[in-house]
């Protein structure tokens, strides 16, 4: 086989190079929005393999979108392009941005949606203002940049466009309040509920860094009037319907009940304050 044949080599490489994109939006699944984004992306890069992270981010909830992206982006193959669209400011002066980290690209509105990626990937991060209209759909609506800008730009990146071709580097992109809990005193952290999952498990923003120990020995959580001291490694280890803390799969401390909703039992909603008191 003569790999020097230009025509052949070109096609062969295109076949062998897989092109992954993920989509995270607040579009829901009952409209045409997600399908249209995929169509727009595939029209630019037909070989793209598009995977849904979720489209059920609560409408306009940038923080939940930021958390869900943080919790899943790193499990994808290198060179994946992550497209995130929770975008109440669509059509306004808010910028579209592109972030490049060691292993991934991210395309999103500049409204904080990539904040936790910025924190986690600070060591090797470049952010660009997406401005090159050659990479947009021919007609750009003022209400659906997911289809008209973000998806086509993701397709262009998968096709090999360099970030520098898409826009100029910036460093004044918007950041949400920091993800980590705030230290109040030697023993106390002010934390919060980042997310409540389908099962009613409550994901806090507490990591092993705050807790110092692996299994919460001596530590306790306060949510409202409730104190939680129990820790379990997994759900089925729980005694009856006790409320307990455990390490969740995204690396954060979570609060759960085996076979029931902790959020309902505790009457907790997203963003609720949690105090972590470490006994050392």
């Amino acid at each position: 086989v003569n790999f020097q044949s230009t025509e052949f080599a070109f096609d062969f490489n295109r076949i062998l190079t897989l092109k992954f994109a993920t989509l995270l939006t607040d579009f829901g699944l009952s409209d045409y929005y997600v399908g249209a984004m995929k169509g727009a992306l595939l029209s630019v890069c037909p070989r793209a393999i598009v995977i849904d992270l979720t489209h059920e981010t609560p409408p306009f909830d940038v923080e939940t979108g930021a958390f869900l992206l943080l919790a899943s982006y790193a499990v994808f193959p290198p060179a994946t392009v992550h497209v995130a669209v929770v975008d109440p400011g669509v059509g306004s002066e808010r910028r579209a941005i592109l972030a490049a980290t060691r292993s991934y690209f991210f395309v999103a509105p500049d409204n904080g949606l990539l904040s936790y990626i910025f924190e986690r990937e600070a060591a090797q991060l470049r952010v660009y203002h997406v401005t090159n209209e050659n990479y947009f759909r021919r007609e750009v609506s003022a209400t659906f940049h997911g289809r008209d800008i973000f998806a086509p730009v993701a397709g262009a990146l998968l096709n090999g466009a360099a970030p520098e071709e898409i826009g100029a580097p910036i460093d004044d992109y918007i950041k949400l309040p920091a993800l980590a809990p705030t230290r109040i005193d030697e023993r106390t952290f002010l934390a919060r509920i980042l997310h409540i999952d389908r099962f009613g498990n409550c994901v806090t923003n507490i990591t092993r860094r705050e807790l110092c120990v692996d299994e919460m020995a001596g530590a306790r959580l306060h949510i409202g009037a409730r104190e939680i001291r129990r820790f379990q490694t997994h759900f089925a280890a729980a005694q009856g319907d006790e409320v307990f803390a455990y390490w969740g799969s995204a690396g954060f401390l979570e609060i759960g009940i085996f076979g029931a909703s902790a959020a309902e039992r505790l009457g907790v909603e997203r963003n609720r304050e949690v105090r972590l008191i470490c006994h050392r």
Copy 2:
């Protein structure tokens, strides 16, 4: 490389030709129906790339399915096969049809689901009655033609079957009432709400053709006792919680509120009458 080698050329072409199919149904996502359709399609055409438009069309709601298909089909790469199944008449004498336009194939029950495609693509449209059982699953149930007829026929089209092999041309296919608003007098159109999206935005059937102007200057909308005169280019331009009209991403005039549900605020449901009064 000798591209004349029959065996090689054949496989190589199969690799290089991408085969897109989309699915739009009212099956929801909590049953096995969508998965089974994909399995049936992939069993016929393993190289198909299958994209969901939506499966949350309200049960039996042919008009909403027709709108959602209209709003998204044209963003897909040429040669995509669109499969649409909202099919209360499954198993009865209602026909299965196949429509070929300049750029796409459509497979659906003959119940009006493709009506708006017929309107939009009237210039280059051929419709066929799907009858050739060689392209169906071996056993055809009377209750799930999505799996047993529509998906396999889509797979056959992706494999290169000609429409003429699948059935005979027809021109008495079923059409829904026309999509466009009705002109009542020189200044007034009788329009309606086509769809209410996840965010509560109300999509009307009014296009630039009726409005004549780009930004509704002087025109107004009447929904029940409510009058809407405000127009915005995008959501974030709105003042507070005003109700305003804007051009939606499917090319229709929509009614929205920034960060809230216009449908809830106005107490509007799908199919509600809207009067457009143009001041000229």
Copy 3:
């Protein structure tokens, strides 16, 4: 073309061999769980084509998961790897298992989720205890084996790993109560509602084997105080809003109403007892 070239032949085969995986879970679509499973699978086997069966299995409902898998697995191309995760025991001593049938692989927790596959595929079935950590993610959490064990093992199978490399054969895997109705006397079977679908149709566990006849001639169903004698081949054949039985697309007798929810009308929930009385 020299197909003996090792490098070329290798890549070419990889291109031509399609690798299908399906996912069935109770994770819902509003969290990062399904996306993360796909990322983990694609990181092991980038060429995998991943299809969702459903992720809306009711939380922890192993029986419904088992039914939905039974109803759809056989429509997929041979060599598909089906991954099923309804897993309240995650992190505990419950085993992970792998089942190999004539045409498919199945990866799941050992909690009965594959029971109906075991029944249906009993003739050619081997089951393995998944233990080889070389095929797991580097760090295995105690709360998300879908991402850390089941998806990577599926990827390994798609890459060509033999079941024997993944674990040792076992035959003491867990089974749910048998799927088939119980015979009470010459004429009576005790059956149950396996599933209620999106439309409110009630799927029983009655098959043609119990009914003996094709159209329920003379037979009747009792649900609570209600008796059902009507049989229809398809929905649109029904008279008005009568409740009728029909053969559903999964091979079971179902109970429905044309254009309305039989489950609501009958006040029936999953697992409700149904008596089948055959008049012969």
